[in-house]
Each structure stands twice: as C-alpha cells, then as structure tokens.
Amino acid sequence: MRVMAQIAMVMNLDKCIGCHTCSVTCKQTWTNRSGMEYVWFNNVETRPGQGYPRRWADQEQWKGGWKLDRRGRLRLRQGGRLRKLAEIFANPVLPTVHDYYEPWTYDYANLHEAPLGDDYPGARPRSLLSGRPMEIEWSANWDDNLGGATELGPQDPVIQKIREQVGEKVRFAFEQAYMFYLPRICEHCLNPACVAACPSGAIYKRVEDGIVLVDQDQCRGWRQCVTGCPYKKIYFNHRTGKAEKCTFCYPRVEVGLPTVCSETCVGRLRYLGVMLYDADRVTEAASVADDKDLYEAQLGVFLDPHDPAVRQAAARDGVPHDWIEAALRSPVHALISTYRVALPLHPEYRTMPMVWYIPPLSPIVEAVAETGFDGEDADVLFGAIDTLRIPVEYLAELFSAGDPLPVQMSLAKLAAMRHHMRAINVGDPVDEDVASAVDLTAQQIQDMYHLLAIAKYEDRYVIPTAAAGDARRLEESVMPNECSVGVVEGEPGPLGDDSGRRNLPMVSLETFHLTRKRQTADREEEL
C-alpha cells in the first residue's frame, strides 16, 4: 500500500441552475487571453446535448482515454507509443477550433462612425481567428437549455447509444422533454490519459495534491494530450502553441482557498476535500475487465481515513498531518465513500476521474407529484425512480458505464433523505426502515442532509494548506512581493508570441489588462 492524497471535488447536480457563473468567473481568472478565447476550463452543458466541444463524449470519433487490449492490459485508445510518434506530424483525431467554436468580437466602431443615414448602423461579428466578418453558427453553449434540441439532440452521443441499446424512444417533444445541467472541469484523474499521451513529459500529476498541470516551459506543442483526454479538457493555446488546462486553481488551493468555480457557485453545490487512495492499486483498478465494475473498482482504491492503519500508513508515506486530519472531515470522502451518493463521470474511460457527481433528483419529485401522488412519500419515490423524467438509463450512461444500479441507489438515498427530513419537519414519526432500506442510519441521513442541504461554507470546503511550514512562502508565491506588471500584454516576442525569458505576467494581471482592452476596443485590429 502506498498512500497518496488528492484534493477532489463533488458536484451536486440536483442544485445546478445552469447559470454559468462558474464558467464566467473561471474564464475571467484563467482564460481571458488571446489564443484562449475559445477555451472554457469550466463549462456547463445542458444534457441531453452535444456538449463542448461538440460530441466530445463519442470516443469512437475522438479516441480519448484508455481501453483494454486483447490481453487485458491498459492501452491508450489513440494507439501505442510508436503509433503516436508516427502520427505526430498531423494528429488524425485532433479537434479543430471549429469543433469548439470560432471566437468572435463585434465591429463596435461602426456604431459611432457610420455616416448619418436612414438605417441604424449595426455591429457585425468579426472572427478573432481570421479577422474577417463571419457568421455565428455555433458557440460554447449553442444548445443551452435544449435550444434546437429537435435537430441537435439526437446527435448527443449518449442519446445515440441509448437508442441503439435500449431502443428507448427518447423524446424531445416539449411536454416530454427533460434536461439537467452538467458543469465540467478537468477531472484531475488518478490515471490521467493526458499525462500518458504527452510525448515531452510536460504534463504531470503533483505528488502533494494530485493536481494535474502542464509545464509551460516543457510543452513543445505536440497536441497529443488534447486527443488523449477523453473529457477534452486540455486545450491548445493557438497563439503560444502550448497546451493549457484547468489548474484546479492551485495557487488558491495551496493556501486553503476553494477553486474559483466552487467559491462563486451560485447553487453552492461544489464540495472540495481530501481523498486518500492507494497509488499501488490504481492501474489494477483501471484495468478491470467489465466497464460496469469500474465504479466499484475505483471505490476500492480509496482509503478510509477513519481506519487507524490507513492513517499510520499515510503518515509513513509522507502525507502531512493536517492533510490526514482534513481527510477525516472531508465532505468529498463522505459523499463518495460513506454515503455513496456521488458517482464518477464516464468511468468507462478508465482514467479514474476525481470530480464526482450526485445525480439530479428534483425532476422526479415533480413528475410524480403531478400524477397526484405525494412526491416525498418514500414508497412512491422508490417506485418512481424507474419512471423518472430523466431516464435512469441516461444517467447511467454518464455515471456508471450504463449500469443502472449505482444511479438508482444514489437517487433512492436522496429520496430517502427527503422523506426522512420531511417527517422530522412536519412532526411525523420517523420511519427508520426508510433509512435502512438504503443502507444508511437515521443519523447518517441527517448528516447527509446537513452537508447537502444546509451546505455551510466550512463544511463544503475542507482544504488543508500546502505543508504548513511552507504557508508563508506560498502566500508570497500567490502575491509576489516583486511587482510583475513588467510585461503585461503578450507582446509578440522575437521568436513568436510570448517567447523569451521573462517572468510570465501573473495571469490575473494579464487578464485584467486584456479585458479592459477588449471592453474598450472599437475594432478587431486593436485586440
């Protein structure tokens, strides 16, 4: 056993209102730069929907993640090492910017420079890639809230799969439509395919907190990682020619602050905490034969910090004391391992993702309530879970490689929680059987309620700082005492954009200046 610690995230989809606040704040913080216009480290997609980039979940097309070879060993779906090097001059399955969307701005100058005339002047869209006028045909959220679902919906890879397998009629007619939101960031996987795909060895997983980062100095722009990541969460900065990805806001996490997307989440649905896991068992767990066993296999890799033997082993393997303490209070561990309500996104990609999701329940309650039954009555709810507005099959394709059982269990627990808490609130006798029917105790249900519904800030985020001794120095690394305003905008260097040795400007400063410039620029050329 080799104990390692990772900061992981859980999102409670029940509460996501699809406001995109998380995406916007993330963009303002990290990707509001030229070369990254089309990039959303955090994006929120409506499901059913194609997602961003379009149809990313179709691995037949994009070849992301791992698969088992004939002898049952893990191989990158994209091909072995030699094959990848042979294809390095033109990656056959690289998404182009158009698979995300072509970024644009508007000809604002025309609004106040147009000659006096009978028509109102308009601001035409101009491509930020070519600088020419363009038609806007797609964007990061074109099919938001089922927009165009009658045409676009059937292209959702999950819908296609369900139609093939279950033959179920999935309707987009208004009265039968269903939808929910799926906010996505990089999964900071335990078995990251992006790291494995990088020919330069520039992408790495940090030992201390499991955050997966791209070394900007070592990246040589081979773009294999973009294909490697099945979640398409590595992006190619087309200006600097380097790969960039979600950083899990490591400068914040190092000093104990939640990531920007978590901090600003309007639904307060994100949880951050430490997971302890056995690094020696990761590969074995990622190679189990049946896709449907991957969820259980990954649960088996996680270690229980309440077990004294685990704590001892963790201390032996160099996990700092305050991290072990934090693991004990970790909301993420509670939701994933104790209550087992959170599930991994697409475990079948075999990357062992570390951002987990609690499947959405609310629409069920409504659907059942409409039929005249009491939507919070336990019997009705348990029975109704299979006749949900959001088909369990759909959720199962997302969260458990098509196995309905884990999703049903998770939803049943959420339903039991509602029933239990309602009984308490209206003064009904509490039926302990409901709790035990879903393998929980009454106390656990109440704790879970506290975590999910009350969701206090300090319960949602339990983040140990990077080793306490480092804390002061780390603070300085986030707030450098040297002013780094020196180079603010990415002036093209002599050898290409951003070349040369200088301390790269703090992203926040660069972003600040670029945003101001963009907001005040009248013409595309000024950008």
Binding site: A90, P480, P494, N503
Partner: protein, 237 residues
C-alpha cells in the same frame, strides 16, 4: 575566398548553431514549440504535413548516407557505382519530391487560410524562403547533374570537416548548383536556432522509454514567482 567558404564558414555555422541552441534553450523555453496551426485547419495539413516531414527525414537520411558512407565501403559491399547512383537518384528524387509537394501544400495552406496566415510571423516567412529555396535548389542540383559523382568531392570534403582538416580543394570544382545548395544549407543551419524549426531538436524520443504517468513534486526552488535578486530579499520575518 574558397578557404573561407569551405574551410571556415562550416565551423562558423556550427558555432552559431550550437551556441544559438544553448542560448535559445536558456532564454526561451516557452517559445520552444512547434506552434502548430492544426487547430485552425486540418484537411490540407493532414496530407501535406506528413508528406513534408517524412520527405525531409528521408532527404536527411539520404544526405547522411551520401556524405558519411565512402564509396570504398559500398564497393567493398559489392554495390557497383552505377547501382548506387541509380538508387541515389531515384530515392533522392522521390524524397525530394515528397518534401517539395508537402511544403508547397503547407505554404499554400498558410497563405490560403486567413487564421493560419495571421499566425505566421515575419520570422516564419524569412525561414520559409530559406527552407523552400534550399529544397528546390537541392533537387535541381541533383536532377541537372544526374551523374555527378559527389562521392569523390562533396562527401570527402564534408568528412574532412569532421576530422578538423578541411580539404578545401575538393569543393572548388564542384558544380555551382551544388555549391549554392551547400551555402544556403549552411545559412539554414545558422538561422535554425532562431526560428520555429528548433522543434526538431526536441523530437520526443524519450517518450518511448518513460513510464506513462509522470509525477512531480512542488519544487521548493520554484515556488516564488520571481527570482529575488541578492540583496533584495524580503525583510519581513
């Protein structure tokens, strides 16, 4: 003049190449990239880029064979001069044509697609002139002097450079086409570290041998953003 061109210049170029690479590596790790434009346009690139790269690798291999394998070796192996030259002509022309077709495709694509063209720096254009020019020149030299025996002149000259006793005489009577090709080739080597072509020196051969998953620790030396100069350290406790 001849002494300088064929006895001094090669060493100068080598010096520029090596110091240039070291300088670039130390000064500009961040700019050391392929700066791929595949994310803008992929149809043409998917054909032209492999054509060019494999073509140019074959050309490189051809040059190495031509220069470093003396005629006496192939004779000893029982390959007649005629066979050798026929092989060299056919394989060399084929490789050259692959590379030329590839790069013409790439340059066309660069001009034709606005996003790709906008991402082309002055530096790139400058480099392309040398690169395209020299491939074309090389092919022309080869085809216009199909039966020229470079193995008794250019080959031994190039080898003589490596033993530090440049035999300048060998180059004086070489056809002008070959001479220009060699000179522009040297120019290309000299500008190489300062262009996007540097990416060839980071060919990821190591990838074949490393474990799939890379772990790293936070490096305490790299924690602070700027390097604090001596005497300017923070005075706060």
């Amino acid at each position: 003049m001849n002494t300088f061109l064929w006895g001094g210049l090669p060493y100068l170029v080598l010096g520029i190449l090596v110091t240039g690479l070291i300088w670039r590596f130390r000064y500009d790790q961040f700019g050391w990239t392929t700066r791929s434009s595949e994310s803008y346009e992929r149809r043409i690139l998917h054909i032209a880029s492999p054509l060019f790269h494999y073509g140019i690798l074959a050309v490189l291999a051809g040059h190495i064979i031509g220069i470093f394998i003396p005629a006496s070796w192939t004779d000893a192996a029982g390959v007649s001069d005629k066979t050798y030259h026929l092989f060299s002509l056919i394989a060399g022309t084929a490789a050259g044509i692959l590379a030329i077709v590839g790069i013409v495709g790439l340059v066309y694509r660069r001009r034709r697609y606005a996003p790709v063209f906008r991402a082309t720096t002055k530096n790139d254009k400058f480099m392309y002139v040398f690169l395209v020019g020299n491939i074309a020149l090389g092919l022309w030299a080869k085809l216009s002097h199909a039966d020229y025996d470079y193995r008794s002149t250019i080959g031994p000259w190039a080898r003589s450079l490596f033993v530090l006793q440049p035999d300048v005489e060998l180059m004086t009577n070489v056809p002008t086409a070959f001479q220009i090709h060699a000179l522009i080739g040297m120019a290309l080597f000299a500008i190489l570290p300062f262009t996007r072509l540097v990416h060839m020196f980071s060919a990821p051969v190591k990838y074949l041998f490393r474990p799939y998953i890379v772990y790293r620790s936070r490096d305490p030396k790299q924690l602070a953003e700027g390097r604090t100069r001596r005497g300017w350290e923070s005075v706060e406790p």
